[in-house]
């Protein structure tokens, strides 16, 4: 029988205490599948000590691409890294009594037990029932595709089915005209986990706050990815509820019951740009006209009829046509700078590679770097807020993606196991 696997003797471990952030001192034990991994990352970024309990095979997200090329064929998953940076990893064989016992001891030390219930259902979905005996004070945060109590509970799920059911896919894609492509196109990413994860963490932090002030007892917090997406598509639901109109897809623009002027324009350097004509008030239009006029590209827009806001709105497709011809002859960066100088809310459609050298993001200290033995030099996106300390400010902590079972020894020592006990667990391959 084996209970704990991995290579706890070989890889240097990370420190457990002294993490910087508003959740410093909070212990999160993360278990189960993958849908709550982003929630775990958010908790870790805010300073919580997040101990990720994996199976001996590791989280399924270790098997999803893209992969670090230098690490060899499918050895180092970047999606796993992005979702699990800041965490510690311990791999337990939960089919063994030793492994189960270690899980019980870990949960016993937790303030929050974060459980993902998806294709993987830890302890046949009975973890919550055991918590009473294991740790009656811990917050149980459950993240699942459809929720615990739901006609669709336990339904099969993937990211694409989630964004189809949740509403994102239906409003994204190209203009629904005969010459366009009628298929909806779901934006790439893990949006169901992002939306569900951030709401789950709001619930957890709110619950921690309530305990802080009201000495409330144990509570469970539960979020379904499907629910999270369903309320996060801006106009689509209210449009039906209040106007009995369904919205239709428009290329890179708000889906709506009526058409809207195209605002994605191609620039001379081959880049697309968002030339947003929303809120085109008198001041903005005067700026636009002045700019186009100064380069002899105003076409007929100086016609007095365009001074009237209603006429402008009605003829916006024509105005955008003139703007499109203007942009086609110029560099996107040059347009961006001049538009913003004139306080027009335009921006180039950047790609990820370009962001890495973006002076603004670099100036704000957005990126986090780590030098991982397995991955190589990794650059992560950091936190999307300033003004509150985050774990990345912790001295002496590295932010390498946790290798499977990497932190087993440190975690077991923290649990108070003796050297003999740790050795015997390793020998039994329980960790």
């Amino acid at each position: 029988m084996t209970a704990v696997s991995g290579t706890p003797n070989l890889v240097p471990t990370r420190k457990l205490a002294g993490r910087v952030g508003p959740l410093s001192g909070i212990v999160v034990v993360e278990v189960g599948g993958v849908v709550g991994e982003y929630a775990g990352r958010l908790l870790g970024e805010m300073g919580a000590l997040v101990i990720k309990v994996e199976s001996r095979q590791g989280s399924p997200s270790r098997l999803t691409g893209p992969f670090a090329v230098g690490a060899g064929w499918h050895k180092a998953s970047l999606s796993f890294a992005a979702l699990n940076v800041t965490k510690l990893s311990i791999a337990l064989d939960l089919d063994s009594q030793d492994g189960l016992d270690l899980l019980r001891r870990l949960v016993g030390r937790a303030d929050v037990v974060l459980e993902s219930q998806d294709d993987i259902r830890l302890l046949d979905g009975q973890l919550a029932a055991r918590l009473e005996a294991w740790n009656a004070k811990a917050i149980h945060c459950l993240v699942s595709p459809f929720g615990e109590e739901s006609p669709w509970a336990g339904g099969l799920w993937s990211e694409l089915t989630a964004v189809a059911l949740g509403g994102i896919a239906g409003v994204c894609g190209y203009d629904d005209d005969p010459s366009g492509i009628p298929w909806p196109i779901a934006p790439v990413g893990l949006h169901s986990r992002y939306a569900g994860g951030v709401l789950a963490v709001i619930g957890v932090i709110a619950e921690l706050l309530e305990r802080h002030t009201a000495q409330a007892g144990a509570r469970s917090v539960e979020v379904a990815l499907h629910d999270a997406l369903a309320v996060s598509t801006e106009g689509a639901v209210p449009s039906w509820e209040f106007s009995h109109e369904e919205v239709h897809r428009h290329t890179g623009r708000h889906a709506g019951a009526t058409d809207s002027p195209v605002w994605t324009v191609l620039c001379g350097d081959g880049k697309y740009l968002c030339a947003l004509p929303l809120s085109m008030n008198d001041r903005r239009f005067a700026e636009l006209l002045d700019w186009l006029g100064s380069e002899g590209s105003e076409g007929d827009l100086c016609d007095p009829r365009f001074r009237d806001a209603a006429t402008r709105d009605a003829e916006m497709p024509h105005i955008m046509d003139v703007v499109g011809k203007f942009c086609l002859k110029r560099n996107s960066q040059e347009i961006f700078l001049e538009a913003q100088r004139r306080r027009l809310p335009w921006a180039p459609i950047n790609t990820a590679a370009e962001l890495l050298s973006d002076p603004h993001l670099i100036d704000r200290g957005f990126f986090v770097e780590a030098d991982s033995a397995l991955y190589g030099k990794v650059t992560y996106p950091g936190v999307a807020f300033k003004g509150m300390p985050a774990v990345y400010e912790t001295e002496g902590l590295d932010f390498c993606p946790p290798e499977l079972g990497q932190d087993a020894r440190a975690v077991l020592e923290w649990l108070g196991l003796s050297e003999d006990q740790i050795r015997s667990l390793i020998l039994a391959e329980s960790i």
Binding site: G65, T161, L165, P182, F385
Partner: protein, 437 residues
């Protein structure tokens, strides 16, 4: 209300449009007293947004605005007048959290720098929500949701080859930034109760977007992938043989797409994703093992990936025999990951999961009457959070809030007379009491 960890927390809310108000909607749903501050001549533009059954000029008839601003009170004051400036000073002294989503120079232009706020209230939390953030070389830039989406990289990464990016059909970053901002604000409130002095939170939409690009950014940095020249898998595919990037849907399988059904209209699709061999066998069985599916071109994942156009076309011929929900049920029962493409109406009227979990809550709005509103879909102790049925009817709570500040009835009457709480040249709407919660 039940779970209300922010009960007693006072939020002064200058935010407008969608991102900031989404954050304060979350705070209100957690029990905070959110007072939305506006002046009728430059009220929240969201009040004029769509889905209004009433004529123009009414401030409180937008269904969309009412969805994003549920749970808040409304206070009218002109911050640019001397009297109004004084009242805002008082309010800042009296609140725990102040929120705004203007472009970065507005609040400080009115005189309320963070330093000034600290003088008025040493423990204050000041949250700004903006496109580019309040520091850095682009901090002065103006932005709406689509601007930030373009700049952040989340617009670029999907679409068809040789077409502009398909992008987002709404201001996704308004919604997600609202959630992120609420999250850090609740954490900051906890620190405030621990005695932490003034906090200045700066949330940038571009960073919220860029953070969600995680693995893609890392792929570019580590592997040198050049995304602007990359050939992405077309449409909804997880992978494509000629692609120069590795998926980015973080799942691998074929078929993996949205498929047409016999439901009419432009939304009659069902997502089908086959992520392993046993699911492929299950799909074939569900189709009755047609000859085409046994063709060796579809025998394993690599060959299905290589022949995806043919595969999707063949499968699409079969899926067209069913309605989208019928197909979803049939495939789910057979062990295949499938989900109907749902519109707004579908989610409201045809989705048993959302209905059973009370994700949309039916409430009686002061002006609009009974409607379903999007909740904060977090269940605590097995129960959904219930929205507080209150909306910021423009100016409705001004006098009440002034009284809470300690202003006497005479002072309030004097202020009203001098046009300090409502501009004299605009009619102040009066709504009947019986529709008012």
């Amino acid at each position: 209300m039940g779970f209300a960890p922010l009960a007693g927390t006072r939020v002064l809310d200058f935010s407008w449009n969608v991102a900031g108000p989404t954050a304060t909607k979350v705070l209100a749903a957690l029990g905070a007293d959110v007072v939305k501050v506006e002046w009728p001549t430059r009220a929240d533009p969201g009040r004029a947004l769509a889905f209004s059954p009433f004529q123009e000029g009414v401030f409180d008839s937008s269904g969309f605005f009412s969805t994003v601003n549920i749970g808040k009170r409304s206070f009218t004051v002109d911050p640019t007048s001397a009297a109004g400036h004084h009242i805002v000073d008082e309010l800042l002294g009296h609140c725990d959290i102040v929120v705004e989503s203007y472009s970065p120079r507005v609040m400080s232009g009115w005189g309320w720098t963070f330093q000034r706020m600290l003088e008025l209230n040493p423990n204050i939390i000041y949250l700004s929500v903006s496109g580019f953030g309040h520091t850095g070389p682009e901090s002065a830039y103006v932005s709406y949701g689509p601007t930030a989406q373009a700049a952040s990289g989340v617009t670029a990464a999907s679409g068809e080859p040789d077409q502009p990016p398909a992008g987002w059909g709404y201001s996704y970053l308004d919604v997600m930034t609202g959630y992120q901002a609420a999250l850090v604000t609740v954490a900051a409130r906890s620190r405030q109760l621990d005695g932490h002095a003034g906090q200045r939170l700066d949330v940038s939409q571009v960073e919220v977007g860029a953070a969600m690009l995680g693995p893609i950014l890392m792929d570019c940095g580590l592997n040198g992938t050049v995304t602007h020249e990359a050939l992405f898998p077309p449409g909804n595919r997880a992978q494509w043989p000629e692609s120069t990037v590795d998926g980015y849907r973080y799942e691998l399988g074929a078929p993996y797409n949205l498929f047409p059904t016999n439901d009419p209209g432009h939304d009659g699709f069902c997502a089908i994703t086959v992520l392993n061999e046993s699911e492929w066998q299950a799909l074939k069985a569900a189709m009755g093992k047609p000859d085409w599916a046994e063709d060796e071109r579809f025998a394993d994942l690599d060959r299905r990936l290589a022949n995806q156009n043919e595969l999707d076309m063949r499968l699409g011929e079969w899926t067209r025999l069913f309605g989208k929900y019928e197909l979803m049920a049939l495939l789910q029962a057979a062990g295949v990951r499938a989900g109907a493409l749902q519109t707004g109406r579908d989610r409201l009227d045809r989705d048993p999961a959302l209905a059973s979990r009370q994700v949309f809550q039916r409430l009686n709005h002061d002006v609009l009457g009974e409607h379903r509103f999007e909740s904060l879909p977090v269940h605590v102790d097995g129960k959904p959070l219930e929205l507080y049925p209150r909306w910021p009817i423009l100016g409705k709570d001004t006098e009440t809030v002034l009284a809470e500040l300690g202003e006497s009835a005479d002072q309030i009457a004097e202020l009203a007379k001098s046009g300090g709480i409502w501009p004299p040249d605009i009619a102040r709407p009066i709504y009947t009491k019986e529709t008012t919660s």
